[in-house]
């Protein structure tokens, strides 16, 4: 068990600054997910924690110990790689045992540890097989077992599910969550998939261009994004954003200049009665997808093209619709992307009356 602290960490590859002045505390026992588009520095951050990459500046602390000059093997960190990185010439048993042998653990104890762990991940019948004779899911389990058996203070997982098919991925996702509950160890998980991040993490760190955009709980990220990037990155479909120039009939009063107005597709209402208080948009349905429980519409309006998502409602058949977004569900951002919270709508009545 350990808390991880990154203090003013930076990373340069030659002249390329990948990460600049990163400060992050990963709580002891948390399931922290680093998420962001590719090239945002999330994997580099993870590799620096593991010690596979040396930071150019700053300090990394694991469990109250500065590990700047500690070799990867001495950091009490275990890692699961994207392509599992199993030793192809060793059996499943050999793979799990390798780390224990290097640690100098006696044969008797190794046997007990291996049989315990393979029981947990369901590998007992496959212990004497080579990795190439295993399925993707089984390899994944070997990688997990190899990491778990060392009883590390920190688990590091680098996109461990991206090589699995959709069904297996969901299954392993649940298993990983259960595993975290059971072990209570700190998990640091990297993914580019925000759905995966939302469903697994209890703490999510959204990164972009080597900087932390926001680190919060999944719900906080969804309901209270601090900037435009997080707002658009979290949620499927992404938050709809209008440039203030395209917004008509909305008089706003705020300390800072509003650059963008956004709303979540699932908070917009289609074809409700006109009494609903909110910003109203008139548009035309371009496409509609029905996924059973939910419908997603693409609607073209005078202010741009938006997505709207409805739940457990029948599919809207008409082509021209009016969409109402309740005022409390509008998000405002400065032109540099910063969120503005204190915004007053000056002419509410006028908007809905004069509006369309």
């Amino acid at each position: 068990m350990a808390q991880i602290e990154l203090k003013h960490v930076s990373k340069k590859f030659k002249d390329d600054v990948v990460i600049e002045d990163l400060n992050l505390t990963i709580k002891d026992g948390s399931f922290t997910v680093l998420v962001g588009p590719s090239g945002c520095g999330k994997s580099t951050t993870l590799r620096m924690i593991a010690g596979l990459e040396k930071q150019s500046g700053g300090e990394i602390w694991i469990g109250g110990r500065c590990v700047n000059d500690t070799a990867p093997g001495q950091r009490e960190v275990a890692m699961v790689f994207q392509n599992y990185a199993l030793y192809p010439t060793m059996t499943v048993r050999g793979n799990i045992e390798f780390g224990l042998k290097n640690k100098g653990i006696g044969k008797q104890e190794r046997q007990t540890l291996i049989s315990d762990i393979s029981e947990i991940v369901g590998l007992t019948p496959h212990l004497d097989k080579k990795p190439q004779n295993l399925s993707g899911g089984q390899r994944q389990r070997v990688a997990l077992a190899r990491a778990m058996v060392k009883k590390p203070k920190v688990f590091i997982l680098d996109e461990p599910l991206s090589n699995l098919d959709a069904k297996l991925r969901n299954q392993m996702r649940t298993e990983l969550i259960q595993l975290h509950k059971r072990l209570g160890t700190t998990f640091v998980y990297v993914t580019h998939d925000q759905m995966e991040a939302m469903s697994m993490g209890d703490e999510i760190v959204v990164m972009d261009k080597g900087m932390i955009q926001q680190a919060d709980s999944p719900l906080k990220l969804y309901h209270d994004p601090v900037n435009l990037f997080t707002a658009q990155f979290i949620g499927t479909p992404a938050m709809n954003v209008m440039n203030i120039r395209d917004v008509q009939g909305l008089e706003l009063e705020a300390a800072d200049r509003v650059g963008f107005v956004g709303f979540r597709p699932e908070q917009a209402l289609i074809g409700v009665n006109k009494n609903t208080e909110g910003y109203c948009l008139e548009g035309e349905i371009i496409t509609s997808e029905s996924l059973g429980a939910e419908n997603i519409y693409q609607i073209k309006t005078g202010s741009g093209v938006f997505f709207v998502k409805t739940f457990l409602e029948s599919l809207v058949k008409t082509s021209r619709v009016s969409v109402v977004i309740p005022y409390e569900h509008l998000y405002y951002f400065q032109s540099d992307g910063e969120r503005i919270r204190e915004v007053y709508i000056r002419s509410q009545q006028l908007v809905s009356a004069g509006g369309l």
Binding site: A50, G51, A71, V77, A85, L86, Y87, T89, F98, Q132
Partner: protein, 306 residues
């Protein structure tokens, strides 16, 4: 006729009359199989011809080694001697201290191989995996040595070893080949194919660099190592030039020199004894090759786990 054509699948004249689409198609298919059969036959004939070209000298060698001296001169040659003279092998063995030559050859070929393994594996790993100052330059130097023929530098090397009093010793025959540029190159390419994550995983498993080489990397390039072993063993087992330069007496003389000496025994070339000696020379190589064929083929077919 049509029915027969269907079952046999060879173009028959009767089928042409049918004229319907299926018949035309059948005819085409039949032609295809016929062409395939011819191509396959041609292929086999070509391969047989190739085998003949390579095998003929070898077969001739075996045949000659079992003949009497006058029989070797008969024209046209008699391929299978009517009375095989097995005694030729014993005669060849007895022309000189062959046991001594044989042990010398084994000590030298194996000694070279062990030293080469000890040097090329770490060197190839370093060239493949580490970025250090001058690594590219050093690798360039290694590659350049591949292009220098032994005959070009044998004199300075000879003088050097002579100054070290290593003439007529096993060490003098082993040391100049203690490393191999070819081996370093071959192994470096193989190491470079291995994913970096595997090494990282081993580092996280607290493995030292030596352990990573021994337990993770080397087992993965085993086919390449077997191939290199074979190349190196054959080259040094058969080497004639360097032992000729380095030896003046029997203490370190190797098999190829011993065989060559057979020619000089009676002033006339006793081809039958010479060929028997040659067979003694190549037998160990054939045995090694026989046992490692599968590994050699695998060395050229990269297989990795994804």
């Amino acid at each position: 006729m049509k029915a027969a054509n269907e079952t046999v699948g060879i173009p028959a004249k009767g089928a042409v009359i049918g004229g319907s689409m299926t018949v035309v198609r059948k005819k085409q298919a039949a032609w295809k199989t016929a062409v395939n059969v011819i191509l396959q036959a041609a292929n086999v004939i070509c391969l047989l011809a190739l085998v003949l070209i390579f095998a003929l000298p070898f077969v001739w060698m075996i045949s000659t080694s079992l003949k009497t001296m006058p029989e070797t001169m008969i024209f046209p040659p008699e391929w299978i001697p009517s009375n095989p003279v097995w005694h030729n092998y014993i005669d060849a063995w007895n022309t000189g201290p062959f046991l001594k030559y044989f042990t010398n050859s084994v000590i030298i070929a194996v000694g070279i191989l062990i030293l080469q393994m000890a040097t090329i594996i770490p060197a190839a790993y370093a060239f493949a995996r580490y970025q250090f100052a001058g690594s590219k330059l050093l690798f360039g130097v290694v590659m350049v040595t591949l292009m220098i023929p032994a005959q070009l530098i044998f004199l300075p090397v000879y003088l050097e070893l002579s100054a070290l009093k290593l003439l007529n010793t096993h060490l003098g025959l082993i040391l100049p080949f203690a490393s191999s540029a070819f081996g370093i190159f071959l192994l470096r390419q193989a190491f470079m194919q291995i994913s970096e994550e595997l090494i990282e995983a081993a580092r996280l498993d607290q493995a030292s660099e030596w352990k990573i080489i021994a337990r993770v990397m080397v087992p993965l390039v085993k086919p390449v190592l077997v191939t290199f072993t074979l190349f190196s063993f054959i080259a040094h087992w058969n080497d004639y030039f360097w032992p000729l330069v380095m030896t003046t007496n029997e203490t370190a003389r190797t098999l190829p020199l011993g065989i060559a000496k057979i020619r000089e025994v009676e002033g006339v070339a006793t081809w039958n004894i010479l060929m028997a000696g040659n067979l003694i020379l190549v037998a160990p190589i054939l045995i090694v090759f026989f046992f490692s064929q599968r590994q050699i083929i695998r060395a050229f077919v990269y297989n990795g786990v994804k």
